[in-house]
């Protein structure tokens, strides 16, 4: 019970700290697309894949005191910083299963910025299309982000590297 909550917390525990809701959303989405067993439903929104279910789950975990959400005012917007609390760590001890490969995956992604992860998650969202079609799609649906050809190639290489390094070995 509450297994899906625990999985999100495992992801946060692995990352240590995640700065930004957008980044958190994209990291979980990418992990899901890499076949880690996250089952939150994602839709395509203005800024890429987004899950209301995940947002609600994070809110619940904050309300329960398992996650700490710190609000930081930036110029023109608010940014949120997430960390696991001691109570959260205690909660996770109720779940003795592991998600092999997740730690490395989350840590690697946490080293990237939200803009890049938005590109990576968008490519994964359209991965049923050919590479050329994905590029065309990005030019249209992400026109304001103005991703360069170089960034897109980098994102493809990044996905490939992630897939070979962070291979989920267990299902929960």
């Amino acid at each position: 019970m509450l297994t899906e909550h625990a999985k999100v917390m495992k992801a946060l525990a692995a990352a240590g700290e995640i700065v930004g809701r957008k980044k958190l959303q994209k990291m979980i989405y990418i992990a899901k697309k890499l076949d880690f067993p996250f089952y939150e439903k994602f839709d395509f929104h203005f800024y890429g894949p987004y899950s209301e279910e995940l947002t609600c789950r994070i809110e619940e975990l904050c309300a329960l005191g398992f996650l700490q959400e710190e609000k930081e005012k930036k110029s023109g917007y608010v940014q949120y910083r997430y960390t696991l609390t001691e109570a959260g760590e205690q909660f996770l001890r109720h779940y003795d299963w592991d998600m092999p490969g997740l730690d490395e995956c989350m840590q690697t992604m946490n080293g990237q910025n939200a803009r890049f992860l938005e590109l990576v998650s968008t490519i994964l969202y359209f991965e049923h299309l050919s590479k050329e079609e994905v590029k065309e799609k990005i030019a249209v649906v992400k026109s304001k982000q103005r991703y360069t050809e170089e960034e897109i190639e980098e994102a493809y290489a990044y996905i490939e590297a992630l897939r070979s390094r962070c291979n989920p070995k267990a299902r929960v």
Binding site: Y39, F46, E52, E60, L64, Y77, A87, F91
Partner: protein
Amino acid sequence: MYSGGQLDEEKVFKDPVHRYIHVRDKLIWDLIGTKEFQRLRRIKQLGTTYLTFHGAEHSRFNHSLGVYEIIRRIIDDVFVGRDHWDHSERLLCLCAALLHDLGHGPFSHSFEKVFRLDHEDFTRAIILGDTEVNAALRQVDDDFPRRVAEVIAKTYPNKLVVSLISSQIDADRMDYLLRDAYYTGVSYGYFDMERILRVMRPREDQVVIKRSGMHAVEDYIMSRYQMYWQVYFHPVTRSAEVILTKILHRAKKLYEDGYSFQTKPVHFLSFFAGNVALDDYLALDESIILFYFQQWQEEQDPILRDLCRRFVRRRLFKYTEFHPTNDQMAKLIELTGLFRKAGIDPDYYLVVDSSSDLPYDFYRPGEEGERLPIYLLMPNGELRELSRESVLVDAISGKRRTDHKLYFPADFLEDLSAKRTVKKAILEILKG
């Protein structure tokens, strides 16, 4: 290019929410007549809510027509001739509005959870596959089905078109709030939709609302908030969902274990195997599901039999508030063990249900670039986010409210004819 054929005579549907739904386009009329669209008559808009609010028997067919009608009014009565609005997108918008829920299955929330499906994949498959809907759409041109699917998937380049169907103030939400309020009989789902439609204005990427219409939008936001907690997330409805979900889990488990069903789950086989073809999906509707539940009330397996009887006879689980702190989690583990000792399988009879299990999109104004908020168009032409102007919206959009409940079969536990001591211990813990 499709000439945009019009019917010789306008068709109208009588509708309790919008009074009349007007159809002038032949393509819309053709789509309504397809077997895939007619299937929506056999899928209830609110799933198991009818077990709580007995009037809530309306279907996704009603709602889909309603969304179409709202979009038609916005386009034909408000947007036509205005800047930013490309009227050549009219038919695309109408089709996407009509077909936006086409892929919903029976009791889709539980079904999608248990079988790891996404109705949006099926919406796309129906629109793009070998179906009557696809054939109707291709009357426009061969690429038209793809464009309709993209609008519904929110990946269409013209974001204004997408935002009409799916945004924080869209035709989908406006219809379901009014319709669900009407059919459940509650009084808090109402808001002045006519007023909102009149003050909607097209902008490059989304619909915005004239500042003078702010109070109507406040009402709409309040309606969303109230409907979620009073109707969509009603604890009795959740209890029915819990049982429905457990029936599906049990049937799948029995199938995998080679159990010999008296009534074989023929319609479920591809769902159990995880290789659902479109035809299998379309063959399933709520009447079929309820037929199986009716039949399975007499199965040999005691769990499947009991769960089906509970669902059909509305003998639902009771619940208690459960705040899963670490203390409560320890109690939950203890309860799980006691349920086993009492001979009641906790995998089916002890269930934590959380608000995130039925996520509902509250209005969220201040995110870092996730979803576009509602913007007010100020008299000076400036755009201002709604909660910065509305004290009311600011008050409720900043508040987090989460909820967890623990569901259990009180009747089993209160029957002390066997395992008296352990059941008493369980009841003591549940009473807190």
